[in-house]
Symmetry: C2
Subunit: 198 residues, 2 copies
C-alpha cells in the first residue's frame, strides 16, 4: 500500500500550529499517513490582505478568546500552556532552521521549538533559544545556523510562503491532502487524516 | 437535578450557525441541557472592528475555504447545502421575527429559516420566504410580522447585539455556558455541552 502524504503547513508563531505539531506524528502513524512538514510565514499573507499583525492582536476579543480556547484544549490534552510575552514571535529564524536541519530532523526540531515557546514561554526569535533546541536533538547549532543563512534556504522559505498563498492558505495550521483539499485549524486534523484515507 | 442552560448566540446569515441550529436540540436533549436561543446581528460587531461585510467576502481565500469546509461537513452529516446567491443575507427581519414568535416557537422557526436559506438557497431577507416559514409551523404570518415591528422587539434585538458584544462575542455561532465560558464555532458545540455538565 502506498502511504498517502499530508502536507502540514505551519508558522512557528502560531498557537494552533503548536497544538497540531505535538500530536500530528502519533495521529499520522496510527493511520499510516506520511507527514510533509511545511514551515512558512503568515506575515506576508496577512500583509497581502491588509493586516499589519496577527488577527489575535488586531481584534482583541478574538485574541482573548484564542488564549482561553487554547488553555481549555491544552488542559484537556494534559499539556502545559504558557503564552509568551511577545506574540506573535518573529518566526523567521526558526523557519529557516527548520528547512536547514533537513527531513530527518525537521519533525523533532519543530516540535521542540513549539514546546519551548508555548509550554515554557520562550522567545523563539532569540538565537540562544533556538541553539538550545538544536543541541537538545544532537545537532551542531553553529553549523546549522550558518547553513540556515544560505541563499538556498532563504529562497526555499520564500518559495514555501508563495506556494502556501497560491494554494489558498490564509491561516495556520493548514493540512493539504494529495488531492488538493485544504483543512484549516488544529480542529480539522482528524478530518484531514480521514480524508487522506491513509 | 437542575438543567444547565447553554446560550446559543447566532446570526441568521451565518453558515456555521446553520450547522449548529439543525443539530443543537438533539445534542442538548441527549445531555439534558436547556438551550436559550439568542439571535443577534453580527453586522454592528463587524462594523465596530472595521469590517464592512462578512470576513468571507472581505477575504476571498477564507470565503472559498468556508464554502468547501461547510460542503464537506454537510455531506458527512447527510444534509443538503446550497449557498444562497446573496451572502451574507440581510438577517434583520428574520432576527426580529425570531424574537416575536416567543419561546415556544423560536427553535422551530430558527431551524426552518436556516434550512430555507442554506438547504434550499432562499433569500431570507424576502418577506414571502419568512411568511412561508411562519405558516409551515402553524403561525399567523401577518400577525407575527406586525408584532415583529413593535418597538419592544426592535429594542430586544438591539439589546441582544449589545449583550453579545459585551460578552466578547465576535463571531457566530457562539455558545455561552452558565459560568460565562465562550465557545466559538459549530466545531465547539460538543465541547460547550461537555463543559456545561448538564
Amino acid at each position: 500500500m502506498r502511504r498517502s502524504v499530508i502536507e502540514f503547513w505551519f508558522d512557528f508563531a502560531s498557537t494552533y500550529s503548536w497544538l497540531s505539531a505535538v500530536r500530528i506524528e502519533a495521529l499520522a502513524q496510527a493511520s499510516d499517513c506520511a507527514i510533509s512538514w511545511r514551515p512558512f510565514l503568515l506575515g506576508p499573507i496577512f500583509k497581502a490582505q491588509g493586516w499589519t499583525s496577527s488577527p489575535f492582536n488586531l481584534y482583541p476579543a478574538k485574541g482573548r478568546y484564542m488564549v482561553r480556547d487554547i488553555s481549555r484544549i491544552a488542559t484537556a490534552r494534559q499539556r502545559a500552556f504558557v503564552m509568551p510575552d511577545a506574540f506573535p514571535a518573529n518566526s523567521l529564524a526558526a523557519a529557516r532552521l527548520a528547512l536547514a536541519v533537513g527531513d530527518d530532523d525537521i519533525a523533532a526540531f519543530t516540535r521542540r521549538v513549539f514546546e519551548a515557546q508555548f509550554e515554557s514561554g520562550a522567545d523563539i526569535s532569540q538565537r540562544p533559544v533556538l541553539e538550545a533546541v538544536l543541541q537538545s536533538i544532537g545537532l551542531d547549532a553553529v553549523a546549522i545556523f550558518a547553513a540556515s543563512e544560505a541563499a538556498a534556504v532563504k529562497d526555499a522559505l520564500r518559495g514555501n510562503t508563495a506556494k502556501a498563498q497560491s494554494l489558498g492558505i490564509f491561516g495556520a495550521p493548514t493540512f493539504v491532502t494529495a488531492d488538493g483539499e485544504l483543512f484549516w485549524g488544529d480542529d480539522r486534523l482528524e478530518q484531514a487524516i480521514a480524508w487522506a484515507r491513509c
